[in-house]
């Protein structure tokens, strides 16, 4: 059985003036999966998501969302997509309940009051239901946004950094919720800058200034990067770190508490460099597998791994 794709676009492009922000992107997200959307600031994640739900008109490319043409049938797409914007964008001068009621009515829900009531309970918003949305704290605003965008039981969720500024407990609740929804068949494309969240996704897509340069499960992405990593522990690892940074064989050096990860693509050259530090200053070296962050930082510093 071939998987059906909730999102299937090819050669998607978007320009703002002379600036090509999304450049020939091919994207396939199978139904019922959670895909993480990663990439440095300004790489075009938000723009891509907006293209998918018809908020922006693509300059090139074709594709479908839930089987509907993204150019011609954006109204049908909107009926079944829940889009959570990066910045809180519900009405701050309406109460939590009024915001949800508005959404319920716009989507034409059969029992708007009951649906809203159920959603308020599910997200723990009941006690705050009469509070103006603008007076909620950041984390509660995020919850309201999520509640609002799944209120109409969409088939596809497009979440743009939904957990920015949310505390760990709320973040965990949030991901539990997402996984629960995905198990019921909902497809999710979620952009994030958190590595632990990327690891909670079925697959990730790494967008680098308009181009997708890595795609697949976390282990696939790490393996495909061809990156080799050593970890160093010891008294003066930070001093060594600065020296290592200038070495051409070393692609990235990143501290993780008392441990420093040193990565490079050329394994032999990297070993030679490390060899010269082996006996010095009592540092212990060991081979390790690169983390997702190592890979991403490597991509960021090396023009997407293409030089």
């Amino acid at each position: 059985m071939t998987p059906t794709y909730a999102i299937e676009v090819s050669n998607l492009s978007k320009r703002f003036g002379n600036n090509t922000v999304v450049d020939n992107v091919n994207l396939r997200v199978p139904q019922g999966k959670i895909y993480g959307f990663l990439g440095p600031n300004g790489s075009g994640k938000t723009t891509t998501i907006r293209l998918l739900c018809g908020l922006l008109t693509p300059d090139g490319g074709t594709g479908t969302c839930l089987g509907y043409d993204i150019r011609k049938e954006s109204n049908k797409i909107k009926q079944q997509v829940g889009y959570m914007t990066q910045r809180f964008s519900y009405w701050e001068d309406l109460t939590v309940r009024e915001n949800l009621m508005f959404v319920a009515n716009v989507f034409g829900l059969a029992q708007p009051c009951d649906s809203v009531e159920a959603m308020l309970r599910r997200f723990g918003l009941l006690s705050r239901s009469e509070q103006l949305a603008g007076t909620l704290s950041g984390g509660w605003k995020q919850r309201l946004s999520l509640a609002a965008c799944i209120l109409h039981s969409p088939k596809l969720l497009l979440l743009d950094e939904p957990t920015a500024g949310v505390d760990p407990q709320a973040r965990r609740d949030f991901w539990d919720e997402i996984h629960q929804l995905a198990r019921d068949g909902l497809t999710v494309l979620v952009s994030t800058h958190y590595m632990d969240e990327a690891e909670r996704c079925h697959a990730i897509i790494y967008l680098y200034y308009g181009h997708i340069i890595a795609e697949g499960s976390v282990s696939e992405v790490i393996a495909n990067s061809g990156l080799q990593t050593w970890s160093a522990t010891g008294a003066d690892v930070i001093g060594v770190m600065n020296e290592l940074k200038s070495s051409p064989a070393v692609a990235t050096v990143a501290p993780f508490g008392n441990v420093v990860h040193v990565s490079g693509v050329d394994g032999q050259a990297l070993e030679q460099v490390i060899e010269s530090y082996r006996e010095r200053r009592g540092i212990q070296w060991s081979r390790t597998s690169p983390s997702l962050e190592d890979v991403f930082i490597y991509y960021m510093h090396n023009n997407g791994g293409r030089d």
């Binding site: 907006r50 739900c53 018809g54 908020l55 922006l56 008109t57 109204n75 909107k78 009926q79 997509v81 889009y83 914007t85 910045r87 809180f88 964008s89 519900y90 009405w91 701050e92 001068d93 309406l94 009024e98 009621m101 508005f102 959404v103 009515n105 716009v106 989507f107 034409g108 103006l132």
Partner: protein, 373 residues
């Protein structure tokens, strides 16, 4: 379709209700404007220049004119000898009143035949002349009582010995103050209508809520209707507010057809909202929207015949004035309130206004952005 419109309408009304400062502005600006415009111009209702046409010279008449002067309401500035002179002075606005004392006035008075006394008043300024007119009977009565004796005197005690006829005259294009209040309705509706619509949409753009709105299955026409209806209600409340002040405080008459008035007002407000809508599609933020509002408002204020009489403007200014709805609405409102016009008289102004508003609405729908591009 209707439910989505209703959802937006409820949302707008709730937001409007919470927006105290806008709400205050909606009511405060009309009050302020009406009082400023009317009181600032209307300084001293006493000592109004008056021309007299005396066709019967007698002691009674001389006492009567002296009594008028003493009352301080009238300044008998000019003596004229023909009716035409009086008309001319009134038209030019050099006098507020023309008093005509007919031939045989004294004789008729003494024989109890109640002679007619004609007081022509410049009706373009009722708030200035009202007090004087009110005082007139009393002035006459007191002056005549003093002069008369005997049987005639007893008659004076029981009833008015003369027939005081007050005639209000005005020249439609030249009446300044009378015109201000109906004109204010037009100007205020223009300003508030354009501004409130323009701001309410750009505010959604600025706060990012437009993105949420556009990501939901709402049609542009539903958003437009949902935004326009609350502003229409606000506009009608403002119009009613100004009218009440005009009629009760400033004694501006309302002579014409009410339903033509209400229909034209609804049409006119819709036109302003279409302009506001167009502005909000073009403006990037609220400041720009305000600047554009003022840009559009200036010709409405200056070229519509509100401040300068339309017929006196140069050709190019009239051409511009003919393209803006407020010019037509100004004539409709003034015609209805001051001249007692009905549909037949208003129609030549209603249809061009309707066409302009239709064009404006089409532009508004066309430039409306369905995406964030």
């Amino acid at each position: 379709m209707f439910r989505r419109f209703l959802a937006i309408l409820i949302k707008e009304l709730t937001q409007l209700r919470r927006d105290k400062s806008t709400f205050a502005m909606v009511l405060a600006i009309p009050v302020m404007q009406v009082f400023l415009f009317t009181y600032a111009i209307n300084n001293d209702p006493k000592h109004l220049p008056t021309a007299v046409l005396i066709r019967d010279n007698s002691i009674v008449v001389r006492d009567l004119t002296a009594a008028m002067t003493n009352s301080e309401y009238f300044d008998l500035t000019t003596r004229i000898s023909t009716d035409a002179e009086g008309d001319e002075l009134l038209q030019k606005g050099e006098v507020y009143f023309v008093l005509t004392i007919p031939e045989n006035f004294t004789r008729d008075l003494l024989s109890g035949r109640k002679p007619a006394l004609l007081l022509q008043a410049d009706a373009s300024d009722p708030s200035a002349t009202a007090n004087s007119i009110g005082a007139m009977s009393e002035v006459i009565l007191r002056s005549i009582r003093r002069d008369l004796t005997g049987s005639v005197r007893s008659m004076v005690n029981t009833e008015m010995p003369i027939d005081l006829r007050i005639q209000r005259c005005y020249n439609p294009e030249a009446m300044i103050r009378y015109n201000i209040v109906p004109g204010l309705i037009a100007v205020l509706l223009t300003l508030m209508g354009i501004m409130m619509t323009a701001l309410s949409l750009t505010r959604e753009n600025e706060r990012g809520t437009m993105e949420t709105m556009l990501s939901m299955p709402v049609r542009p026409l539903e958003i437009m209707a949902g935004k326009i209806v609350p502003n229409l209600i606000v506009g009608l409340i403002q119009a009613a507010f100004i009218l009440i002040m005009a009629i009760f405080f400033f004694k501006v008459p309302f002579l014409g057809s009410w339903w033509v008035f209400v229909l034209s007002i609804i049409l006119f407000i819709t036109g302003n909202l279409a302009i506001g809508y167009t502005i909000s599609s073009l403006a990037k933020n609220q400041l720009q929207a305000l600047q554009m509002t003022i840009l559009v408002f200036m010709p409405s204020l200056l070229l519509s015949g509100f401040i300068y009489p339309f017929v006196g403007m140069p050709g190019w200014a009239q051409a511009i004035g003919n393209c803006i709805p407020v010019t037509y609405f100004m004539r409709i409102v003034r015609g209805i309130m001051l001249k007692g016009n009905g549909l037949a008289e208003c129609w030549p102004h209603i249809w061009p206004m309707g066409i302009i508003i239709l064009i404006l609405s089409i532009i508004a729908v066309k430039v409306y952005k369905k995406t964030l591009d």
